[in-house]
Protein backbone atom coordinates (compact mmCIF):
# COMPACT_ATOMS: atom_id res chain seq x y z
CA UNK A 1 0.00 0.00 0.00
CA UNK A 2 2.81 2.40 0.90
CA UNK A 3 4.50 1.89 -2.45
CA UNK A 4 1.25 2.83 -4.14
CA UNK A 5 0.98 5.89 -1.96
CA UNK A 6 4.48 7.02 -2.84
CA UNK A 7 3.89 6.57 -6.54
CA UNK A 8 0.66 8.55 -6.24
CA UNK A 9 2.56 11.32 -4.47
CA UNK A 10 5.26 11.28 -7.09
CA UNK A 11 2.73 11.50 -9.88
CA UNK A 12 0.39 14.09 -8.50
CA UNK A 13 2.39 15.93 -5.84
CA UNK A 14 -0.51 15.50 -3.44
CA UNK A 15 -1.10 13.16 -0.56
CA UNK A 16 -3.65 10.64 -1.59
CA UNK A 17 -4.34 7.04 -0.74
CA UNK A 18 -6.87 5.61 -3.16
CA UNK A 19 -6.53 2.08 -1.84
CA UNK A 20 -7.16 3.33 1.69
CA UNK A 21 -10.20 5.29 0.52
CA UNK A 22 -11.59 2.24 -1.22
CA UNK A 23 -10.90 0.05 1.79
CA UNK A 24 -12.88 2.48 3.95
CA UNK A 25 -15.76 2.27 1.47
CA UNK A 26 -15.73 -1.53 1.49
CA UNK A 27 -15.74 -1.59 5.30
CA UNK A 28 -18.76 0.71 5.25
CA UNK A 29 -20.47 -1.54 2.70
CA UNK A 30 -20.00 -4.51 5.02
CA UNK A 31 -21.83 -2.70 7.82
CA UNK A 32 -24.62 -2.12 5.29
CA UNK A 33 -24.56 -5.80 4.41
CA UNK A 34 -24.99 -6.75 8.06
CA UNK A 35 -27.75 -4.14 8.52
CA UNK A 36 -29.81 -5.60 5.67
CA UNK A 37 -28.63 -9.10 6.62
CA UNK A 38 -30.38 -8.74 9.96
CA UNK A 39 -33.62 -7.81 8.20
CA UNK A 40 -33.27 -10.74 5.79
CA UNK A 41 -32.82 -12.97 8.85
CA UNK A 42 -36.11 -11.74 10.34
CA UNK A 43 -37.76 -12.33 6.96
CA UNK A 44 -36.34 -15.88 6.75
CA UNK A 45 -37.54 -16.87 10.21
CA UNK A 46 -41.08 -15.53 9.72
CA UNK A 47 -41.38 -16.90 6.21
CA UNK A 48 -40.47 -20.29 7.65
CA UNK A 49 -43.06 -19.84 10.38
CA UNK A 50 -45.89 -18.55 8.14
CA UNK A 51 -45.23 -19.93 4.62
CA UNK A 52 -48.87 -19.87 3.49
CA UNK A 53 -49.62 -16.37 4.73
CA UNK A 54 -46.42 -15.02 3.17
CA UNK A 55 -47.56 -16.65 -0.04
CA UNK A 56 -51.03 -15.05 0.15
CA UNK A 57 -49.67 -11.61 1.06
CA UNK A 58 -46.96 -11.84 -1.62
CA UNK A 59 -49.64 -12.34 -4.29
CA UNK A 60 -50.89 -8.82 -3.46
CA UNK A 61 -47.65 -7.23 -4.68
CA UNK A 62 -47.36 -6.04 -8.25
CA UNK A 63 -44.82 -8.32 -9.99
CA UNK A 64 -44.83 -6.12 -13.10
CA UNK A 65 -43.73 -2.98 -11.26
CA UNK A 66 -41.16 -5.04 -9.30
CA UNK A 67 -39.70 -6.44 -12.52
CA UNK A 68 -39.62 -3.00 -14.11
CA UNK A 69 -37.75 -1.60 -11.11
CA UNK A 70 -35.31 -4.51 -11.25
CA UNK A 71 -34.52 -3.74 -14.88
CA UNK A 72 -34.17 -0.02 -14.07
CA UNK A 73 -31.74 -0.65 -11.19
CA UNK A 74 -29.65 -3.17 -13.15
CA UNK A 75 -29.38 -0.69 -16.02
CA UNK A 76 -28.43 2.13 -13.63
CA UNK A 77 -25.66 -0.12 -12.30
CA UNK A 78 -24.42 -0.54 -15.86
CA UNK A 79 -24.43 3.20 -16.56
CA UNK A 80 -22.51 4.03 -13.37
CA UNK A 81 -19.90 1.36 -14.27
CA UNK A 82 -19.69 2.84 -17.79
CA UNK A 83 -19.28 6.31 -16.28
CA UNK A 84 -16.16 5.10 -14.41
CA UNK A 85 -14.82 3.33 -17.50
CA UNK A 86 -15.34 6.54 -19.51
CA UNK A 87 -13.44 8.76 -17.07
CA UNK A 88 -10.57 6.23 -17.08
CA UNK A 89 -10.45 6.64 -20.85
CA UNK A 90 -10.44 10.46 -20.40
CA UNK A 91 -13.88 10.71 -21.97
CA UNK A 92 -15.46 13.33 -19.72
CA UNK A 93 -18.52 13.80 -21.91
CA UNK A 94 -19.46 10.12 -21.84
CA UNK A 95 -18.80 9.95 -18.12
CA UNK A 96 -21.14 12.89 -17.46
CA UNK A 97 -23.75 11.45 -19.80
CA UNK A 98 -23.67 8.01 -18.16
CA UNK A 99 -23.83 9.43 -14.64
CA UNK A 100 -26.78 11.64 -15.65
CA UNK A 101 -28.52 8.54 -17.02
CA UNK A 102 -27.86 6.77 -13.70
CA UNK A 103 -29.56 9.64 -11.90
CA UNK A 104 -32.49 9.52 -14.32
CA UNK A 105 -32.93 5.77 -13.70
CA UNK A 106 -32.70 6.31 -9.93
CA UNK A 107 -35.48 8.91 -10.15
CA UNK A 108 -37.57 6.56 -12.31
CA UNK A 109 -37.16 3.88 -9.64
CA UNK A 110 -38.46 6.24 -6.97
CA UNK A 111 -41.40 7.37 -9.15
CA UNK A 112 -42.41 3.73 -9.64
CA UNK A 113 -42.03 3.14 -5.92
CA UNK A 114 -44.31 6.13 -5.29
CA UNK A 115 -47.03 4.72 -7.53
CA UNK A 116 -46.63 1.27 -6.05
CA UNK A 117 -46.92 2.46 -2.48
CA UNK A 118 -49.81 4.86 -3.25
CA UNK A 119 -51.74 1.96 -4.76
CA UNK A 120 -51.15 -0.08 -1.60
CA UNK A 121 -52.13 2.87 0.61
CA UNK A 122 -55.35 3.43 -1.32
CA UNK A 123 -56.22 -0.23 -0.70
CA UNK A 124 -55.81 0.51 3.00
CA UNK A 125 -52.60 -1.48 3.33
CA UNK A 126 -50.06 0.59 5.21
CA UNK A 127 -48.35 0.12 8.57
CA UNK A 128 -50.88 0.32 11.39
CA UNK A 129 -53.96 0.57 9.14
CA UNK A 130 -57.19 -1.06 10.27
CA UNK A 131 -57.35 -3.11 7.09
CA UNK A 132 -53.84 -4.48 7.68
CA UNK A 133 -54.34 -5.18 11.37
CA UNK A 134 -57.48 -7.20 10.60
CA UNK A 135 -55.34 -9.67 8.62
CA UNK A 136 -53.74 -12.75 10.21
CA UNK A 137 -50.34 -12.35 11.91
CA UNK A 138 -48.24 -13.78 9.06
CA UNK A 139 -49.64 -11.26 6.58
CA UNK A 140 -49.14 -8.35 8.96
CA UNK A 141 -45.52 -9.46 9.32
CA UNK A 142 -45.09 -9.78 5.56
CA UNK A 143 -46.34 -6.26 4.87
CA UNK A 144 -44.41 -4.89 7.85
CA UNK A 145 -41.18 -6.37 6.47
CA UNK A 146 -42.12 -5.23 2.96
CA UNK A 147 -42.48 -1.62 4.09
CA UNK A 148 -39.38 -1.65 6.32
CA UNK A 149 -37.07 -3.41 3.86
CA UNK A 150 -38.13 -1.75 0.60
CA UNK A 151 -38.45 1.52 2.56
CA UNK A 152 -34.90 1.31 3.89
CA UNK A 153 -33.75 0.36 0.41
CA UNK A 154 -35.65 3.33 -1.03
CA UNK A 155 -33.93 5.58 1.50
CA UNK A 156 -30.62 4.27 0.19
CA UNK A 157 -31.71 5.10 -3.35
CA UNK A 158 -32.53 8.67 -2.25
CA UNK A 159 -29.13 9.03 -0.54
CA UNK A 160 -27.54 7.60 -3.69
CA UNK A 161 -29.30 10.24 -5.79
CA UNK A 162 -27.86 13.00 -3.57
CA UNK A 163 -24.32 11.55 -3.60
CA UNK A 164 -24.30 10.89 -7.36
CA UNK A 165 -25.58 14.43 -8.03
CA UNK A 166 -22.67 15.88 -6.04
CA UNK A 167 -20.24 13.63 -7.93
CA UNK A 168 -21.78 14.71 -11.25
CA UNK A 169 -21.15 18.36 -10.42
CA UNK A 170 -17.57 17.49 -9.40
CA UNK A 171 -16.91 15.81 -12.75
CA UNK A 172 -18.38 18.77 -14.65
CA UNK A 173 -16.16 21.13 -12.62
CA UNK A 174 -13.09 18.92 -13.25
CA UNK A 175 -12.73 18.12 -9.55
CA UNK A 176 -12.89 14.48 -10.60
CA UNK A 177 -10.60 13.60 -13.50
CA UNK A 178 -9.09 10.59 -15.26
CA UNK A 179 -6.22 10.44 -12.71
CA UNK A 180 -8.30 11.19 -9.64
CA UNK A 181 -11.65 9.45 -9.75
CA UNK A 182 -11.75 7.53 -6.45
CA UNK A 183 -14.82 9.51 -5.29
CA UNK A 184 -16.71 8.45 -8.39
CA UNK A 185 -15.52 4.86 -7.90
CA UNK A 186 -16.60 4.74 -4.24
CA UNK A 187 -20.00 6.27 -5.04
CA UNK A 188 -20.31 3.64 -7.76
CA UNK A 189 -19.60 0.92 -5.19
CA UNK A 190 -22.38 2.33 -3.00
CA UNK A 191 -24.77 2.35 -5.96
CA UNK A 192 -23.93 -1.26 -6.84
CA UNK A 193 -24.66 -2.26 -3.25
CA UNK A 194 -28.12 -0.68 -3.55
CA UNK A 195 -28.57 -2.78 -6.70
CA UNK A 196 -27.30 -5.92 -4.94
CA UNK A 197 -29.79 -5.59 -2.10
CA UNK A 198 -32.62 -5.19 -4.61
CA UNK A 199 -31.47 -8.37 -6.41
CA UNK A 200 -32.47 -10.25 -3.25
CA UNK A 201 -35.50 -8.15 -2.25
CA UNK A 202 -37.11 -8.67 -5.66
CA UNK A 203 -37.54 -12.49 -5.63
CA UNK A 204 -38.27 -12.59 -1.89
CA UNK A 205 -41.15 -10.11 -2.03
CA UNK A 206 -42.43 -9.89 -5.60
CA UNK A 207 -41.95 -13.40 -6.92
CA UNK A 208 -43.96 -15.40 -4.40
CA UNK A 209 -46.51 -16.97 -6.71
Amino acid sequence: MSSHNESAVAQNHVHRDDVGAKMGMWLFLFTELLLFGGLFLVYAVYRYQYPDQFHLAGMELNTGIGTLNTIILLTSSLTVALSIAAIQKKNKFLSVLMLSLTLAFALMFMVNKYFEWSAKFSHGIYPGSEELLSLPNGQILFFGLYYVMTGLHGLHVLIGIIILSIILVMIIKDKITFDNYIKLENSGLYWHLVDLIWIFLFPLFYLIQ
Binding site: W26, A44, V45, I71, L74, S77, A81
Partner: protein
Amino acid sequence: MHEEKNNHHIGYGTYVLVWIALLAFTSITVTIAGVSLGRYTLLVALFIAAIKSALVINIFMHIKFDEKIFKVFLLLSGFTLLVIFILTFFDFLYR
Protein backbone atom coordinates in the same frame (compact mmCIF):
# COMPACT_ATOMS: atom_id res chain seq x y z
CA MET B 1 2.69 -5.67 -10.70
CA HIS B 2 0.74 -3.55 -8.28
CA GLU B 3 0.30 -0.69 -10.70
CA GLU B 4 -0.60 -3.07 -13.45
CA LYS B 5 -3.33 -4.56 -11.30
CA ASN B 6 -4.70 -1.20 -10.32
CA ASN B 7 -4.83 -0.04 -13.88
CA HIS B 8 -6.86 -3.00 -14.99
CA HIS B 9 -9.57 -1.16 -16.85
CA ILE B 10 -12.58 -3.09 -18.03
CA GLY B 11 -13.88 -2.17 -21.46
CA TYR B 12 -17.40 -0.93 -22.19
CA GLY B 13 -18.20 -4.19 -23.97
CA THR B 14 -17.62 -6.36 -20.91
CA TYR B 15 -19.97 -4.23 -18.85
CA VAL B 16 -22.68 -4.38 -21.50
CA LEU B 17 -22.31 -8.17 -21.72
CA VAL B 18 -22.66 -8.50 -17.94
CA TRP B 19 -25.73 -6.24 -18.08
CA ILE B 20 -27.30 -8.46 -20.77
CA ALA B 21 -26.56 -11.53 -18.62
CA LEU B 22 -28.18 -9.82 -15.60
CA LEU B 23 -31.31 -9.04 -17.63
CA ALA B 24 -31.41 -12.62 -18.94
CA PHE B 25 -31.21 -14.00 -15.39
CA THR B 26 -33.98 -11.60 -14.34
CA SER B 27 -36.29 -12.84 -17.08
CA ILE B 28 -35.43 -16.46 -16.16
CA THR B 29 -36.26 -15.89 -12.50
CA VAL B 30 -39.55 -14.14 -13.35
CA THR B 31 -40.52 -16.94 -15.75
CA ILE B 32 -39.62 -19.69 -13.28
CA ALA B 33 -41.63 -17.98 -10.53
CA GLY B 34 -44.73 -18.53 -12.68
CA VAL B 35 -44.04 -22.28 -12.89
CA SER B 36 -44.84 -24.22 -9.78
CA LEU B 37 -41.71 -25.97 -8.52
CA GLY B 38 -43.10 -26.47 -5.04
CA ARG B 39 -40.48 -26.22 -2.34
CA TYR B 40 -37.70 -25.65 -4.87
CA THR B 41 -39.13 -22.33 -6.09
CA LEU B 42 -37.43 -20.37 -3.32
CA LEU B 43 -34.13 -22.26 -3.71
CA VAL B 44 -34.03 -21.62 -7.47
CA ALA B 45 -34.89 -17.93 -6.97
CA LEU B 46 -32.11 -17.52 -4.38
CA PHE B 47 -29.64 -19.43 -6.56
CA ILE B 48 -30.31 -17.08 -9.50
CA ALA B 49 -30.04 -14.06 -7.17
CA ALA B 50 -26.66 -15.40 -5.99
CA ILE B 51 -25.41 -15.70 -9.58
CA LYS B 52 -26.57 -12.15 -10.32
CA SER B 53 -24.81 -10.83 -7.19
CA ALA B 54 -21.62 -12.65 -8.14
CA LEU B 55 -21.69 -10.89 -11.53
CA VAL B 56 -22.29 -7.48 -9.96
CA ILE B 57 -19.63 -7.94 -7.25
CA ASN B 58 -16.94 -9.40 -9.52
CA ILE B 59 -17.30 -7.22 -12.60
CA PHE B 60 -19.30 -4.07 -11.76
CA MET B 61 -17.67 -3.73 -8.33
CA HIS B 62 -14.25 -4.82 -9.66
CA ILE B 63 -13.58 -7.13 -6.75
CA LYS B 64 -12.09 -9.68 -9.13
CA PHE B 65 -9.41 -7.20 -10.18
CA ASP B 66 -8.92 -5.23 -6.99
CA GLU B 67 -6.78 -5.75 -3.90
CA LYS B 68 -7.12 -9.27 -2.51
CA ILE B 69 -7.86 -7.91 0.96
CA PHE B 70 -11.28 -6.63 -0.21
CA LYS B 71 -12.19 -10.14 -1.26
CA VAL B 72 -11.07 -11.45 2.14
CA PHE B 73 -13.24 -8.82 3.86
CA LEU B 74 -16.19 -9.76 1.69
CA LEU B 75 -15.84 -13.47 2.40
CA LEU B 76 -15.45 -12.74 6.10
CA SER B 77 -18.62 -10.64 6.30
CA GLY B 78 -20.52 -13.17 4.17
CA PHE B 79 -19.32 -15.93 6.49
CA THR B 80 -20.36 -13.90 9.56
CA LEU B 81 -23.84 -13.49 8.08
CA LEU B 82 -24.03 -17.22 7.34
CA VAL B 83 -23.05 -18.11 10.92
CA ILE B 84 -25.71 -15.72 12.27
CA PHE B 85 -28.34 -17.34 10.01
CA ILE B 86 -27.35 -20.89 10.99
CA LEU B 87 -27.23 -20.15 14.73
CA THR B 88 -30.57 -18.35 14.63
CA PHE B 89 -32.25 -21.21 12.81
CA PHE B 90 -30.77 -23.74 15.23
CA ASP B 91 -32.26 -21.74 18.06
CA PHE B 92 -35.59 -21.29 16.27
CA LEU B 93 -36.01 -24.92 15.17
CA TYR B 94 -34.85 -26.71 18.32
CA ARG B 95 -36.07 -24.34 20.97
